[in-house]
Symmetry: C2
Subunit: 145 residues, 2 copies
């Protein structure tokens, strides 16, 4: 699914997995498909409001749980207590800058290597899809602090 996916495509994806194409599910997937930012339930709720009739928070929670179960979205804990959600696309990882709060995104390559090494050494099977690291982004790292 790509940025700003059409409703028809979303319907197809849902049906494909045996899920009813309800308005809540379509709205949530549509919003999440616009820029692959990770959003909290509350952000989702207000984003939905700009274009669709309101969805009850309880429904959003249940919708996301279902979509996660069927491998369409992923959850991520950023440290505050709200869970963030995004479309499941390719594996990628994040660094949150402790100075300016910006989020840097990394592709999976280096982490993939790490996972392999961990398997070799410890026998574990690491499933890293959306890792969250903390530290300083390039800009703030230069200014030190």
């Amino acid at each position: 699914m790509d940025v700003a996916t059409s409703v028809a495509a979303i319907r197809a994806v849902l049906r494909q997995r045996g899920l009813q194409a309800t308005s809540a599910r379509i709205a949530v997937l549509q919003i999440l498909s616009e820029g692959h930012r990770h959003r909290s339930v509350d952000e989702l709720r207000s984003d939905v409001l700009t274009r669709y009739p309101a969805i009850d928070p309880a429904t959003i929670y249940r919708t996301l749980e279902t979509l996660e179960l069927h491998g369409l979205v992923v959850r991520m804990e950023l440290g505050d207590k709200r869970t963030r959600w995004a479309l499941l696309t390719h594996d990628h990882h994040h660094l949150i800058c402790r100075n300016c709060e910006s989020v840097v995104e990394f592709d999976d390559e280096l982490f993939h290597r790490l996972a392999g090494e961990l398997t070799r050494r410890y026998g574990v099977q690491v499933e890293m899809h959306h890792l969250v690291l903390r530290g300083l982004c390039a800009t703030c790292a230069l200014t030190d602090s």
Copy 2:
């Protein structure tokens, strides 16, 4: 601070950082020093009960926040909503087995290399102290599932 640290040593560490050596802080550090497991506030509260007079949850939260600020303990989010706490010792990382829920611990070496590579490639300064990964532990990886 080592496993089962003496009260005198704990007092010293606290004073050293300009902190009052109160009974709550001593009790919390004492409990955390016994096996470097990561504990939830509730586990801490009941562990304290076996040896000390009860500490109010609110006090435990405030105590941990203070100790964290002074670099004595670290927090960790395991995915359920309770924050876990441990003494800050050496950097190490964890894998939680999604099958048997066990926690595997890794030393820092491989991750340290990864952090270096990220700095080289992206200019970021990664601060990874207690990373939490998910996957399968060696035992469950063999049995597949």
